[in-house]
Symmetry: C2
């Protein structure tokens, strides 16, 4: 891979200065066109040539209109970053549609360094690469334009630079890391190539730029970005490519039909078990905080299935500082400008805390699907993205539980009627509720398919019979308690 | 103050259980009405009775629909919080219109503790209280409903609790802090009263709740909130009170007229000084990062005054990781739901970094005023809020510089014309630019008044003659360099 890039490319000063004015005008104009466009641009600039990466990114900022370039330098983790899942910091800094961001820093090199020093093994190395790939794939699938540049310095050039650096100690920007790269150059290159090969997403391939010559390096980088953005703007203007037909799904098994809705607890049984479980949950949440165990609990279910009541029994058992409830409604305009998972990533709990989602990222394959807001291809993709999202959480030690609270048609009718009578305004039934009820057939198909596609070994769906409120509440409380206990190695 | 609250109020169980069902229904209904309302609710619950504060807030969350209560527990500072101005964490967690948040934790008690142990002196104590007051005043003036509850335990009760706690060591939630409060009870109360007196904002007065009896405590708290929210909803429904007439301002001195627009540099002078200053700025920004000195630089000026060019000369001298440029345009819907300063607070730099605002919080008293988007009373208030905002930054060691780049009518006409010819799309002149130009008389009055009202000793306006671009760029570069040098105790 690198051999092909080591061509000793060189650009003389005259040629460079001749090309520059037009390039800069074109770059800034492309930026301005981009601001009206409906996609974000992410430019990743990393590489084995640490100094060049930093210089090239500075140069890009100078050439472009820096006011509209969001540059993120990912270095050592801050403590807030450290206390969240690994990809949290990459998600929360993502550009919105019409925006351009540059991601730079040493995080890729750091991963290689960890593998090189055996801080992580091959399996962990591969796991991280696979998350990188899927992260980029999700962005690309959402319409983002993603560039990935690897700035590469041939070994003999690095040797020269280090020699020169030793002469001018103090003023050089090379440091021990660069010397370490030279020491184990061949191994670093081998791992770098492995990394690039494994993360070569189709629409976001790596581009290697040789950095022996600064002018060639910077001009190549800028020109690649310009060409890519222009072409993407052109494509966007021409309109989307015709959707390929999606093969119809074979019907999914009717998992909802397997739920025994007759499960129930008497009032005294309920109270006694609830009190015991709430006391247990309080203790577990205190220890989870001490041990830094984070939890993500998501609730889905039919209207009036009792999500609010269940959530209240959970939160009521804990200290307010230990949990946060996130109701998912209509997205804000900032959220709409990003990938649909962005709003969930930015709500993830830090270590030791619990976030309870009242409705969740499954909205994409439920309400958005049934209402026809997304096409079938997007739904298929969402299953994979959701599975990956959840896998990342679980692999990083987060307790992830997702509950489907289920009631049958008759019970829903009874509850709707009861709500019409209740003094709680929140329970007033709207036309929309009845509309959803009328469409239950479609919802049911969507729910069954969702379960079939996203009930994974790491993150299985918990189906909760909820015709009897007490049974549902106790069932959820127990599952959460058992989940926490298991994760912390306590006996259930 | 406390004497009046120590009435040994008690509520028997029967009465409590009788009142509860209706209270809960009313609370939840008020929450639901609030979600449609156009104001935020902030409930501050603090006090000398640490355990009660925490219990009462938990109880409130249980009674209300916890999904729509944003509870923020402010404890020890996280490192990101530590690296930002003191009030950053309170601003960024603020509820939007239609939302309710509870602020709790020990931050008020901690401030009293610091004063008690002489970690801060009277002056610093007063300074903090004054910022608290002005923070709350700004929210109230923006239409927010602010509650402030002080949960208070009489001395003899605290004594009893501590005695009991010693018997049940391990299971009690009382700790050394509570013992310390008892030890110096009278001093703590004296400082608490001082704090309450000085922060008693007219529309956000302190309410003291005695905590000897849990039932009385929780019911009083919930009832106060319910009554306040209901009354505020009623007022909002009835429409705003008629605006009091605002006395016309006496005309402000024409500061803009004093700028010598003839100032200029020849091309070689400019280049030479620019290069020298950029090299100096690079060094200063590296040291600023090492020393943790943050900078906030704001630019205002007439259209085509050259803000972009000046900003580029600043940013071009620094490493991309050391600055961030924030262009201020139309606010997002999340921003519109908050106080207008919220969007600036959340963009503040952490220690060691610089944030450059391309247009700023002055939009409120410039474009929003001239376009008639805010009334005169709001403009008057904005001056005070801005002065306080800037004072806080400066007092916490942030370098704050605000520049007005000035060009005259002829120069603007020349630049508009030149832009019509330029290949940069961003410079294309729109009808709006000509409209602004036609309204310059009104803008000029607004600018002069803004300068008169917000050019404070701590944060003076820097008027930059900008008819000559080179002169303006060098002038700004030099002011930024000198500002950084001075703050870091270096020689200019």
């Amino acid at each position: 891979m690198f051999e092909g890039a080591e061509i000793g490319a060189h650009l003389d000063k005259q040629e460079y200065e001749k090309a520059l004015p037009e390039l800069r005008v074109d770059l800034v104009n492309a930026q301005y066109d981009l601001r009206e466009a409906n996609f974000p641009v992410l430019v990743v600039v990393v590489g084995d040539d640490r100094r060049s990466v930093s210089e090239a990114v500075n140069q890009l900022n100078e050439w472009m209109d820096a006011r509209y370039v969001g540059t993120q330098v990912f270095g050592a983790l801050t403590d807030e970053e450290q206390r969240h899942p690994r990809f949290w910091r990459y998600w929360r800094a993502l550009p919105g549609r019409g925006e351009l961001a540059i991601y730079t820093g040493v995080w890729v090199l750091a991963t290689i360094g960890e593998r090189l020093t055996d801080a992580i093994d091959d399996k962990e190395f591969d796991r991280r690469l696979s998350h990188m790939t899927r992260f980029e794939q999700a962005l690309v699938d959402d319409g983002a334009l993603v560039f990935k540049f690897w700035i590469h310095l041939p070994k003999d050039q690095l040797k020269k630079r280090l020699k020169k650096a030793r002469k001018h100690e103090g003023s050089s920007r090379l440091n021990a890391l660069d010397a370490a790269i030279y020491e184990r150059y061949d191994e670093v290159m081998k791992l770098s190539q492995q990394l690039m090969r494994k993360t070569n997403v189709g629409e976001a391939p790596w581009q290697i730029i040789e950095s022996s010559d600064d002018r060639h390096r910077d001009l190549t980088l800028a020109r690649s970005i310009l060409a890519g953005v222009s072409a993407h703007l052109e494509r966007a203007r021409a309109g989307a490519a015709p959707q390929l037909p999606v093969a119809p799904h074979t019907p999914s098994p009717n998992l909802l039909g397997t739920i025994d809705l007759g499960a129930k607890l008497s009032r005294p049984e309920y109270k006694q078990q609830r009190d015991a479980l709430q006391a247990r949950l309080r203790g577990l949440s205190v220890r989870a905080r001490e041990q830094g165990v984070a939890s993500v609990i998501a609730f889905e279910g039919r209207d009036a299935a009792g999500k609010g009541g269940v959530i209240r029994r959970l939160s009521g058992a804990m200290d307010v500082d230990d949990y946060r409830i996130v109701p998912i409604g209509v997205p804000t305009d900032e959220e709409l400008r990003h990938h649909y998972l962005w709003r969930f990533w930015r709500q993830l709990p830090r270590d030791g805390r619990m976030v309870i989602f009242d409705r969740s990222w499954y909205g994409r394959v439920l309400v958005e699907r049934v209402e026809g807001l997304v096409d079938e291809a997007t739904v298929r993709r969402a299953y994979a993205e959701i599975n990956d999202f959840e896998e990342q959480l679980v692999e990083e030690g987060v307790l992830l539980l997702k509950f489907w609270l289920h009631i049958d048609d008759d019970e829903q009718a009874r509850r709707f009627e009861a709500r019409e009578q209740t003094p709680y305004k929140k329970y007033k039934i709207t036309d929309e509720d009845y509309r959803n009820r009328a469409h239950w057939g479609e919802y049911e198909r969507a729910v069954n398919e969702m379960m079939a596609r996203t009930s994974t070994e790491l993150a299985p769906w918990r189906l909760v019979p909820a015709n009897n409120k007490g049974y549902a509440r106790v069932d959820v409380l127990r599952t959460v308690c058992d989940g926490l206990a298991q994760l912390m190695g306590e006996e259930s």
